[in-house]
């Protein structure tokens, strides 16, 4: 493990908003914990091209607050705002982190059927073994049933491939 971070850590309030993402605490929490983890390893970044660092986002619930809002709006016959289209899949915030830090490895999102850490670690191991990734930024996040952000953990795994 090359770096590790959690949100919240001591004294943290709500994570800062992320431009382009609205309504939900999901994306701000992912960005906050990912930035903290990567800063501990790389300062302000970005990483040089060709780093093959994967972004692996593991969340059973996904962005439940946004999905629930869209569901209710559509069911009521309303129109959803265009920004909800751009944040309709977890890839979007993963891509935001990748673009901010220059992480050019695979982008993978999983909804764990068992223990999120174990499934995330197994997927990271697979990507490293296969060689498409030289490092993996693994982010685990869950929202509470009411859609409010809970906790998130990010770890940077690697480095180098095993083949």
């Amino acid at each position: 493990m090359l770096a590790r971070a959690r949100w919240p850590e001591n004294g943290d309030g709500p994570p800062a908003p992320v431009p382009g993402f609205v309504h939900s605490g999901f994306a701000p929490l992912v960005v906050a914990v990912a930035d903290r983890c990567l800063r501990r390893r790389y300062g302000d970044g970005p990483l040089p091209a060709g780093n093959r660092t994967a972004v692996l986002l593991v969340s059973a619930s996904g962005d439940r607050a946004s999905a629930t809002h869209v569901r209710a709006t559509v069911a009521a016959g309303g129109r959803v705002g265009p920004l909800f289209f751009f944040q309709s899949v977890p890839n979007s915030v993963a891509g935001h982190v990748a673009a901010r830090w220059g992480l050019d490895g695979p982008v993978v999102c999983l909804s764990p059927t068992g223990d999120g850490w174990n499934e995330g670690a197994a997927e990271a191991d697979l990507l490293l073994y296969d060689g498409d990734a030289a490092q993996v930024l693994l982010v685990l996040i869950e929202q509470a049933p009411d859609g409010t952000p809970g906790e998130a953990t990010a770890v940077l795994l690697g480095e180098g491939t095993r083949q």
């Binding site: 996904g62 999905a67 869209v70 673009a99 982008v107 909804s111």
Partner: protein, 379 residues
């Protein structure tokens, strides 16, 4: 690269607006008639666009996925004992289901992700590990790549990859709000005048097996998965890198794993959605990998016929590619109005093209700058 177990595709099944089953899919993409019709499954009042490629009389996603997995397992000749050891990798959208419950007593839409995977595995008798991919439009292709890695490493002998998207009101509203849907009601990949994508049903299952496991039970082999690659753009949350760097690296990785030069590939099923900037980015990626030969590689995007099946698109298009290779006919890129100078490719228009090629690529790309390439070969 370590010596690895060869990977075979031994059974497939697909549902799309073109019909149920592999034969209907192949016939539909070779006929090249777009399947887009006015949406009747839910109310589209107030939307900019009101068409999609939907199959009438579909069941719930859980029921259709169960049917697809069962049919694919039967096609592969898997008995109960073989199913019991098989893993299930599921590619689908997370979040609350938005299709209405079936009109029958006690009917519901089935469990949400991730519980849907266990539900599906139990109903189909698959007793191995389960995984759920929610990686947007590369969910299914990433699942196939991961299955290939795990089988190649010797971790698993048999993986059923299942993927499902049935056109429903929430994603439809989101794509409409994002102005991603083609206002002229047609998908025109790589073509001049293209206006966007249209959504389509796709519920698909594919049985992947280690070659020795398939051979041990005398299984049929439709194709082999010889290469795969995954890479990111590191460019933007939603838009592809116009230089095509990530997609080019995914294709290069697939070729490297297959041990094939670019010129060995005789067909490419493109990701192209009919969206102006993303089709041009894909063409740029192909130029990087194939150089001047990119203009001589037969290419088509069958999304022009069956629509964009989102999380299931990678598996639907993998099956199209496998069937096209086996049949020796390359499907049509419908909706063609004329060439676009930003997409200098040999696009298959007008009619299916005969081929004797042994190797084909199928590409997918998604929000987040996620890219995949799968390379399949005739047995």
């Amino acid at each position: 690269m370590a010596e690895r177990e060869q990977l075979r595709i031994t059974g497939v099944h697909a549902l799309s607006a073109l019909g149920r089953g592999a034969d209907a899919l192949l016939a539909g993409v070779l006929a090249g008639t777009p399947a887009f019709t006015p949406v009747r499954r839910f109310d589209t009042t107030g939307r900019r666009v009101t068409v999609a490629a939907t199959l009438p009389d579909v069941g719930t996603l859980a029921d259709e996925l169960t049917d697809a997995v069962d049919h694919a397992c039967r096609a592969a000749g898997l008995d109960r004992a073989h199913r019991a050891g098989a893993a299930l990798f599921l590619a689908t959208h997370g979040g609350p289901a938005s299709l209405p419950a079936p009109d029958r007593p006690g009917g519901d839409t089935g469990p949400e992700v991730p519980a849907l995977a266990g539900h599906l595995a139990r109903r189909c008798g698959l007793g191995g590990p389960t995984r759920v991919y929610t990686t947007a439009c590369v969910s299914a292709s990433t699942a196939v790549a991961d299955a290939a890695t795990l089988i190649g490493r010797g971790d698993l002998d048999r993986v059923v990859v299942a993927a499902g998207y049935l056109v429903e009101p929430d994603q439809y509203a989101l794509f409409d709000a994002g102005r991603a849907l083609a206002a002229d009601g047609a998908v025109r990949p790589f073509s001049a005048g293209r206006q966007g994508l249209l959504l389509g049903d796709g519920v698909v299952a594919v049985v992947l097996e280690a070659a020795r496991a398939a051979a041990a039970r005398g299984a049929p082999t439709l194709a082999t998965v010889t290469g795969w690659g995954r890479a990111g753009d590191a460019y933007h949350p939603c838009q592809p890198d116009p230089r095509g760097l990530g997609l080019a690296r995914a294709v290069a990785a697939a070729l490297r794993r297959a041990g094939l030069p670019p010129e060995a590939v005789g067909y490419l099923n493109a990701n192209a959605t009919g969206t102006a900037y993303s089709d041009a980015a894909e063409a740029a990626a192909l130029g990087r990998v194939f150089g001047a030969a990119a203009g001589r590689l037969p290419v088509s995007s069958t999304k022009a016929v069956h629509g964009h099946a989102l999380e299931a698109s990678g598996l639907l298009e993998l099956v199209v590619t496998v069937l096209a290779l086996g049949h020796g006919k390359l499907p049509v890129n419908a909706g063609w109005l004329g060439p676009d100078e930003n997409c200098p490719l040999d696009v298959v228009t007008d009619a299916p093209r005969s081929t004797s090629t042994r190797h084909a690529l199928t590409l997918n790309a998604a929000f987040g700058g996620a890219n995949t390439a799968l390379l399949v070969s005739t047995p």
